[in-house]
Structure formats: structure tokens, C-alpha cells
Symmetry: C2
Subunit: 231 residues, 2 copies
């Protein structure tokens, strides 16, 4: 379960303040499968970054229950955050963030080893094979197509069997068939394995196909569904 | 007009050959507006790279008429290719390739200045404003959201008023409204200004909305439309 309370986050360029998150309040059940939608620049990636412990908000609390009790990750020490990121959550970044000097397999294996799962190498190969990348295990990121890099990023997020999956536009560079495979897989993670899955997407059709009652963001705030229907 | 004849291109990882382009034959009329579709890894970005003079094929010819006569760009010298890239074509890359140490405005202005158009700074500001980025002119790429970076990349490709526009998934990180704005703009470039526009996209709905008779690629080859209908 996730409770986000009054979260604010600003960026500063020179002395101009950009309120990327301007009072986010949200409750998400365990095992939920939710789509996050909103116009470009409205704060979706920033929200995922603070949920993933990659960035801290200026104000507010983020309570997450990932080991039996609700913990406020905004109060974590650097070490606690590192453990949280490595073991509890899988993040698929908008721009993948693959390590350029590691092969596709090494990128996934590194995440697997950091998370203490059993058989990290075997699991990494299995996932990459499931995503059609058997022939690309030894390719470096710059030797892969856009959609191949995206699939490596997805494998890296999922191999550690995380309790919370944060996906920032996970199929932007994949064709329709592979996109559907990924959404079905992610939905299965929630429905069958009880993982909490949050997906940022611009694809309203995919969002409507796999989920209902999406989370809408505009100008750093959650907007109510009634307001959305009229825009 | 563009004539692509028997173009082949392979990549080598170790001693394994990947035939990214395996015999491409294609004729494209001047002022055409064509979508290029195909599964992840089938060769779309590679095709755009050789059309854009960023990479040379191993075999075949690419004849382009951009200054009155058909020229085979595979025979160009390094200098000729540089001039071709800077002045004649606008490329929107799958991963943008913005220069990290230049601001949004400087990124667009640099391309404008290299292309010899009049009023490069004014035109750059105009385009970025049209894309909703007035407040972000002085932001660096890492201070922009994914969709904002994408819009800067689009502005940079278009500001030089190119005769050929090559767009590799130009709206992957944009919401539906902005995506439609971009497609409408690109279509206008062809219909109203006679520019040749080739768009790689995974979004079949957008493709069908704005064009007909798409170009389909699979395993580095063009496939006939009748074959596509049955898959
Ligand atoms: N530098 C490279 N070295 C080795 N193989 C490469 C290299 N670049 C691309 N490839 C391979 O060439 C093939 C075509 O790549 P390309 O990037 O053109 O695909 P694409 O159609 O654009 O895919 P996507 O839709 O995923 O972006 C892929 O199988 C890819 O793995
Ligand atoms: N490092 C930064 N410095 C300054 N402003 C920033 C920085 N990072 C993001 N922003 C701004 O914060 C706002 C929210 O950015 P965010 O990346 O969360 O948007 P987004 O909803 O993910 O957009 P997209 O759909 O385009 O990816 C944007 O207006 C952006 O320009
Ligand atoms: Mg984003
Ligand atoms: Mg590509």
C-alpha cells in the first residue's frame, strides 16, 4: 500500500521556481494496477522519481508498506534508500539509463545480483529470452535498437521480483504486439502476484484497454476524474 | 524524389553479422508523406540513418534530388555529406541527441545557424514557442521532461526549413493532443510546402489517421502490403 501526502517538489533554474509537484495526495492499494496520465511536463516522471527514492520531495510524506509496516521513505537514510531501491522496487526509466559499458545481460544481471534473488544469471537470461532478446545478450546498449534497449530496461526492473513496479512509458519504442505483451505481463504481476504496478503512459488506448479509473495529473496536481471528462 | 536501390547494411558484434538492411528497394515521390512501420529491431532507424547520411550502406545506391538533379549520397565526400546533413535534411532522432551543454534555445539556434537561413535566432524562438516551450528556452536538456526534450529535437530538425524530414518516432513521449499537433504540422510541411516527410512510428492508429499505403519493413526488407494484411 502507498499513501502520498501533500508532496511538493520544485526545481530551480536560476531564480525561477518550477513547481513540478504542487501538492500530490494519493492512496494506492496493495496489488493495484494503475495508469498515470497527463500532458507532457505535468510532473509524472518527477512523481515516479520520488516514489522510487531517487529524489526527495521538498514537503510531504510518502508512506509505503513493503515489509509489513508503513514506512515514510522521505525520512530514510542514504543507506536505507539504497537498499529500498535495489531490492524492493523495479523502475523502468523513461530513457532506460542502461549502463553503456555493460552488455544487455550484464545490465540485467547486475540488478539481479544487487537484489539477492536466487540464480541471478539464470533468471536474467530467462527474462531477456522471454522478451525476444536471446541473440542480443552480448550486445552493448549502443548496439541495440531503441525497442531492444527498452526491453533490456524492462527486464532489469523485473528480474529482482520487486514489490513495487514503476514504469515510465515502458512501451514507447515498441510495436503494438510487443507493447501488448509487456502490458499483459505487467498486469499479471499485479493480478497474479500481488505486486503494485504504476505505469506512466501517453497511450490512452492502452491505458483504457488494461485498466480503469486512471490517475490524472496536471500542473503537478492530481485532478479528479469528473474534471477530466470535460476536457 | 528518393530512389533507394538494393541497399544492404550489416553490423558486426564479434564475428556475428546482423543484417540490419537486407536489400531495401524503395521509390518515394517529392512531397510524399509516408509512415514507416515494422517490429522493433527490423531496421527502421538504420534506414533513416543511411537516408540522412549519418551512416553509409555496405551495398546499393541512394539517389536523392534535393537541388535539381538526382545525386547518389553514398558517393558523397565527407564534406558533401556534412553540407547535406546541415542544410538539406532535418532529422528527429529516436533518442533526440540534444547537446547537453547547450540550452534548448541554443540547441535549435545552432542548427539554424549551420543551415544559412535568415534570422536564425528569431526562427528558433518562434518554433519553440509554437511547441509550448517559451518558459524552457534557457533550460538545459537534463532540466526538461521527456516530452519537452522531444519537442526541442523536433524544433531543431524543422528550423532549418529542410527539403527532407526524417522523423524517428517523433511523438513517443508526447500526450495525444501534442502528438496530433506534431503530425498535423509535419503533414502540412508535405502538403503545403512540398517537403518530403518520412515518419517511423509504432503507433498504427496515428499512421492510419494521417496517411495511407505505409511502408512496412521486416527483417531489413520492405514487405508488400498484401503480405502485411494477413499477419
Ligand atoms: N551498432 C550496432 N551493432 C550491432 N547491431 C546493431 C547495431 N545497431 C543496430 N543493430 C541491430 O540492427 C537491427 C536493426 O536496428 P534498428 O535500430 O534499425 O531497428 P529499429 O527498426 O529502429 O528498431 P526499434 O523499433 O526498436 O527502434 C537490430 O537487430 C539491432 O540489434
Ligand atoms: N532538473 C530540472 N530542472 C528544472 N526543471 C525541471 C527539471 N526536471 C524537470 N523539470 C520541469 O519539471 C516539470 C515536470 O517534469 P516531469 O519530467 O516530471 O514531466 P513529465 O510529466 O514526466 O513530462 P513528459 O510526459 O514530457 O515526460 C516540467 O515542467 C519540467 O520542465
Ligand atoms: Mg516524463
Ligand atoms: Mg529504432
Amino acid at each position: 500500500q502507498i499513501i502520498i501526502k501533500d508532496v511538493m517538489k520544485s526545481y530551480y533554474t536560476g531564480d525561477i521556481e518550477v513547481r513540478a509537484l504542487n501538492g500530490i495526495n494519493l492512496k494506492i492499494k496493495k496489488g493495484a494496477f494503475k495508469m498515470i496520465l497527463g500532458p507532457s511536463g505535468c510532473g509524472k516522471s518527477t512523481l515516479l522519481n520520488v516514489l522510487g527514492g531517487l529524489d526527495s520531495p521538498d514537503k510531504g510524506e510518502i508512506l509505503i508498506n513493503f515489509d509489513g509496516s508503513m514506512r515514510d521513505i522521505t525520512k530514510f537514510s542514504k543507506d536505507q534508500l539504497t537498499l529500498y531501491r535495489r531490492q524492493k522496487i523495479g523502475i523502468i526509466f523513461q530513457f532506460y539509463n542502461l549502463i553503456p559499458i555493460l552488455t544487455a545481460l550484464e545490465n540485467v544481471e547486475l540488478a539481479a545480483r544487487f537484489s539477492n534473488i536466487e540464480n541471478p544469471k539464470k533468471k536474467s537470461i530467462e527474462l531477456l529470452t522471454e522478451f525476444g532478446l536471446t541473440e542480443k545478450l552480448d550486445h552493448y546498449p549502443n548496439q541495440l535498437s531503441g525497442g531492444e534497449q527498452q526491453r533490456v530496461a524492462i527486464a532489469r526492473a523485473l528480474v529482482k521480483d520487486p514489490v513495487l513496479i514503476l514504469a515510465d512509458e515502458p512501451t514507447g519504442n515498441l510495436d503494438t504486439k510487443k507493447s501488448n505483451d509487456i502490458y499483459r505481463l505487467l498486469k499479471n504481476m499485479a493480478v497474479k502476484y500481488g505486486k503494485t504496478v504504476l505505469i506512466v503512459t501517453h497511450d490512452e488506448d492502452m491505458a483504457n484497454k488494461y485498466a480503469e479509473k486512471h490517475i490524472f495529473i496536471r500542473d503537478g496536481k492530481i485532478i479528479k476524474s469528473e474534471e477530466v471528462a470535460h476536457k
